[in-house]
C-alpha cells in the first residue's frame, strides 16, 4: 500500500466513525462542531501553508481526501464559499495580518464567510457595480446593495467589491474589502427565489465603516481579485456535479418508466436515449477532466465547458422527465417539480449560459473579443443596470 493509499484509508475510517452518529440534517452548531473536528483531524486546508493553519501537504493528499469524502454526506455546505472562494483569494492576495487573522478560524469553521459581488444592476456585467466605498480617514464608508449572496445570514465576514473611484473606467475603480457582517449598518434580507424558498439573500449597506487595513489587494485593483475568486467558483460548480443528487437522472427515469410500463413506447425510449447520451457524455467529460488534473493539466477556462453542459443537462433532464411522467409529476411537491423549479438556477448562478459561451469563445478558443464600448469611458459617464429607453434608441 502506498503512503497515499494509507492516507486515503485513514481518512475514510475517520469519516466513517465521525459521520456515523450525525443526524440526517445537522443544524448549524452540529455542522460547526463537525468542522472543528475535521480540522483538528487534519483534513481541512490540506494544501494550505502551515503558517496560516493549513497542513502544508500536496495536491495528491487533497485528492486522496476528496476521494475518501465522496462516499460521505458531509455537513460542510455552509463553509463552502469560505473554503472554495474567500480563503483562496485571501491566500493569494491578502496581507500577512489578514492571512494570520482570518484563515485559521475559516478553516476550523469558527467563522463563516460569504461573497458579495452581484448587484441588481450588475449581473453578468459585475464590473458595472454601483455600491460605493468612500475614504474617510483610516476607514472606508460603504453604501449600496448586493444580491444573490449565499449564507449571508450565517456569515461572520464577507468579501465585498465596491466602487472606490467613479472617475476612471469601470474596471479600474473597484476595490475588494473584508467586511464584518455583524456591523449594524449591514442589513441581510432573505431573497425568496422561484422555488418558493430562500437560498440567497440581499445585503444592504448603510454607512458601514470598514477599516482601511481590510482592503484586499490594491486599492482600485479589486477587479482582478474578483476575477480570481470567480474562477474558483466556476471550477467548483461544474466539477462537483457528480456528487449532487439528480432526481431526473437517466437511471431514475428508466426505473420510473419501467414501473409504469412505458418502456414499450418508442417515444419514451427515444427521450430516455437522448438523456442517456447527454448524461453519459457529461459524466465522462468530468471524469476525463479530473484525470487531467491528476496528471497535472489544469482545466483553466475549460471549467466553463463543464458548467455550461451541467446547466443544459439540468434543464433538459427535468424537462424530459416531465414529458415522460406527465401531469402526475407536477402534483404535490415531488422531486421532478422541485427539479423543474431549481433547474434555471444552474443556468444563471455562477455566470449565465451566455457568459459561459463568451468565456469559452474568448479564453478557450482565443476568439477576438467583442468591442467593449464602455472600456475607456469613466464609470460616472456610463449607463448601467436597467434604464428607460431614450428617444432615438
Amino acid at each position: 500500500m502506498t503512503d497515499l493509499d494509507e492516507y486515503r484509508s485513514r481518512a475514510r475510517a475517520w469519516l466513517a466513525e465521525r459521520t456515523a452518529d450525525l443526524p440526517p440534517d445537522p443544524d448549524l452548531p452540529q455542522a460547526r462542531a463537525f468542522m472543528a473536528d475535521l480540522y483538528d483531524a487534519g483534513y481541512v486546508g490540506i494544501t494550505w501553508p502551515a503558517a496560516y493553519g493549513g497542513r502544508g501537504l500536496s495536491a495528491a493528499e487533497e485528492r486522496a481526501f476528496q476521494q475518501a469524502a465522496a462516499d460521505f454526506p458531509l455537513p460542510v455546505g455552509v463553509f463552502g464559499i469560505g473554503l472554495g472562494m474567500c480563503g483562496p483569494t485571501l491566500l493569494s492576495l491578502g496581507t500577512e495580518e489578514q492571512k494570520r487573522r482570518y484563515l485559521r478560524p475559516l478553516l476550523r469553521g469558527e467563522e463563516i464567510w460569504c461573497q458579495m459581488f452581484s448587484e441588481p444592476g450588475a449581473g453578468s456585467d459585475v464590473a458595472s457595480l454601483q455600491t460605493r466605498a468612500v475614504r474617510d480617514g483610516d476607514h472606508w464608508v460603504v453604501d449600496g446593495q448586493k444580491v444573490w449572496t449565499s449564507v449571508a445570514r450565517q456569515a461572520d465576514f464577507g468579501l465585498l467589491i465596491a466602487r472606490t473611484d467613479p472617475d476612471v473606467p469601470k474596471h479600474q475603480g473597484i476595490t475588494m474589502f473584508v467586511v464584518d457582517m455583524r456591523d449594524p449598518g449591514v442589513d441581510v434580507r432573505p431573497l425568496r427565489d422561484m422555488t418558493g424558498e430562500s437560498h440567497f439573500n440581499e445585503v444592504f449597506f448603510t454607512g458601514v465603516r470598514v477599516p482601511a487595513e481590510n482592503v484586499v489587494g490594491e486599492v482600485d485593483g479589486g477587479w482582478s481579485a474578483a476575477v480570481t475568486t470567480l474562477l474558483h467558483e466556476r471550477v467548483s460548480i461544474g466539477m462537483g456535479a457528480t456528487r449532487t443528487e439528480r432526481p431526473a437522472s437517466f437511471a431514475a427515469l428508466r426505473t420510473a418508466a419501467r414501473e409504469r410500463g412505458l418502456l414499450g413506447e418508442p417515444g419514451v425510449r427515444d427521450l430516455l436515449l437522448d438523456l442517456y447520451l447527454r448524461e453519459r457524455a457529461f459524466d465522462l467529460l468530468n471524469a476525463r477532466m479530473s484525470q487531467e488534473v491528476k496528471a497535472g493539466i489544469q482545466p483553466g477556462a475549460r471549467g466553463s465547458v463543464s458548467k455550461l453542459l451541467l446547466a443544459d443537462l439540468t434543464l433538459a433532464s427535468a424537462d424530459l422527465a416531465s414529458q415522460i411522467l406527465g401531469p402526475e409529476c407536477l402534483a404535490g411537491d415531488g422531486p421532478i417539480a422541485r427539479a423543474l423549479a431549481w433547474a434555471p438556477g444552474m443556468a444563471l448562478g455562477g455566470g449565465t449560459n451566455e457568459i459561459m459561451r463568451n468565456i469559452i469563445g474568448d479564453r478557450v478558443l482565443g476568439l477576438p473579443r467583442e468591442p467593449q464600448l464602455d472600456r475607456n469611458i469613466p464609470f460616472k459617464a456610463l449607463k448601467v443596470g436597467t434604464q428607460a429607453k431614450e428617444d432615438g434608441e
Binding site: 428508466r254 425510449r269 436515449l273 465522462l284 476525463r288 475549460r302 459561451r357 474568448d362 478558443l365 482565443g366
Partner: protein, 360 residues
C-alpha cells in the same frame, strides 16, 4: 478507466500528423479523389511499412507491434483529421478480425501492409456459403457499399454457413466469379464498391459459427470509426475557429460576434464530450470486453451526430465560400455524413444502445 492518452500515444499522433502535413496535404487528397486510384499507394506504403502502422494492434509473433486499440485510435484521429486517402480504418478492422480468428498464415502480410485486407460484413442479407462435396466452400450473393473494397488485396466476407450461423471467409481479389464494382461515392475521400459473389471459391477462417467474434469486430469497428470521426470533428472546429479570427465583416472579425462565438463555443463543448466518449470506448475495446457493446453503441450514436453537426456548422460559418467546390469544407461535410451512415443507419445504433441499456 483511462480517459487521457499516454505519452507514447501523443508522440505517435504527432509523428503521423507531421507525416500527413508533409506528404498528404489537401491538394493530394483531392488529386487521389479525382483519379481512378483507389487510394494513395505511396502514402500507404510509407505509413504501413516505414512507420509500421498497419500491424500496430497485431501481436508481435504475427509480425505486428503488439500495441492496442489506443494506439490505433491515435493514428485514426490524425488520418480522419487529414481525410487521408488510405484504407487504414478498413485494414485495421480486418486485421483485428484476423487476430481474433488466429489466421496465422495471413497475418504477417497484413501486419506489414503488404496486403490490404478489407472486411465485407453486411448486417442483413448475408451472402450464402455453400460447402461442396470436396470440402471446399463457395460464396453466393452480393454485398453493397463496401468501403475500400477496390483497394483490397484480400477480402474478408461474412457469409451465412447455416441457420443463424455466420462464418468469415477469405476471398482473393482475382477469384473466379468475383466482381468488385466501384460506386459513385458521396464521400469522395473514401470510395465504396459493390462486391458480387457468383459461386466464388473461398476459404473459411476459423469456425463455421463465428458470430460472437464477428459481433465483437463490429463493435471494434464502431469504436475505431468514432476515433477517426473525432479527428475530423476537431479539424473542422480548428479550421473554422482560425477563419473566424481572420474574416472581417461589418468592420469586425466575425469571431467577435456572439452569434458566431456562441455557436463555436457550443461546437467546442461537443468536441470535449466527443473526445471523452471516444477515450472511454477505446479503453473498453482494449480493457473491458463486458462494457464494449454499450460503449460501442454509445460511441456510434454520439460521434455520428457530433461529427456531422460540427462539420455542417463549420461549413455554414464559412459563409458562401463554404458552398464552393474549391473550398475543403464540403469534403468534411460529406465525410461526416457518410461516416454517420457507414456502419448502419443511426437508428440501428440507437436500437442497439437501447438494448444494452435495458430499454427494450
Amino acid at each position: 478507466m483511462r480517459l487521457i492518452p499516454t505519452e507514447e500515444q501523443r508522440e505517435l499522433a504527432a509523428t503521423v500528423r507531421s507525416f500527413l502535413a508533409d506528404r498528404v496535404p489537401m491538394a493530394r487528397v483531392r488529386e487521389v479523389a479525382g483519379s481512378d486510384e483507389p487510394y494513395d499507394r505511396t502514402a500507404w506504403a510509407r505509413l504501413s511499412s516505414e512507420l509500421g502502422l498497419a500491424g500496430l494492434a497485431v501481436p508481435e509473433e504475427h509480425g505486428g507491434s503488439g500495441a492496442g486499440f489506443g494506439e490505433v485510435a491515435a493514428v485514426l484521429e490524425e488520418l480522419g483529421a487529414a481525410l487521408a486517402p488510405v484504407p487504414y480504418f478498413s485494414a485495421v478492422v480486418a486485421a483485428s478480425l484476423l487476430v481474433a480468428l488466429d489466421a496465422k498464415d495471413l497475418l504477417p502480410d497484413v501486419a506489414s501492409g503488404e496486403t490490404v485486407a478489407v472486411l465485407a460484413a453486411p448486417e442483413e442479407a448475408l451472402p450464402a456459403g455453400r460447402l461442396l462435396d470436396r470440402g471446399e466452400w463457395v460464396l453466393e450473393g452480393m454485398v453493397e457499399r463496401v468501403p475500400d473494397a477496390t483497394a483490397a488485396g484480400l477480402l474478408l466476407v461474412v457469409a451465412s454457413t447455416g441457420t443463424d450461423r455466420r462464418g468469415v471467409f477469405a476471398v482473393a481479389p482475382d477469384a473466379p466469379g468475383l466482381a468488385v464494382t466501384p460506386l459513385t461515392s458521396f464521400d469522395l475521400t473514401r470510395p465504396q464498391a459493390r462486391v458480387e459473389l457468383g459461386g466464388v471459391p473461398a476459404r473459411l477462417l476459423g469456425p463455421s459459427d463465428a458470430g460472437a467474434v464477428i459481433d465483437r469486430t463490429a463493435d471494434v469497428a464502431r469504436v475505431l470509426l468514432a476515433a477517426e470521426q473525432l479527428g475530423g470533428l476537431r479539424r473542422c472546429l480548428d479550421v473554422i475557429v482560425e477563419y473566424a479570427k481572420l474574416r472581417v465583416q461589418f468592420g469586425r472579425y466575425v469571431g467577435s460576434f456572439q452569434g458566431v462565438k456562441h455557436k463555436l463555443a457550443d461546437m467546442h463543448c461537443v468536441l470535449e464530450q466527443a473526445e471523452s466518449v471516444v477515450r472511454y470506448a477505446v479503453w473498453a475495446a482494449d480493457e473491458a470486453p463486458d462494457e464494449l457493446p454499450e460503449a460501442a453503441a454509445l460511441a456510434a450514436s454520439f460521434l455520428g451526430r457530433a461529427y456531422f453537426q460540427v462539420a455542417r456548422d463549420h461549413l455554414l460559418l464559412h459563409g458562401g465560400i463554404g458552398f464552393t467546390w474549391e473550398h475543403d469544407a464540403h469534403l468534411y461535410y460529406k465525410r461526416a455524413k457518410a461516416d454517420e451512415l457507414m456502419l448502419g443507419a443511426p437508428r440501428t445504433h440507437r436500437a442497439r444502445l437501447a438494448t444494452a441499456l435495458g430499454l427494450i
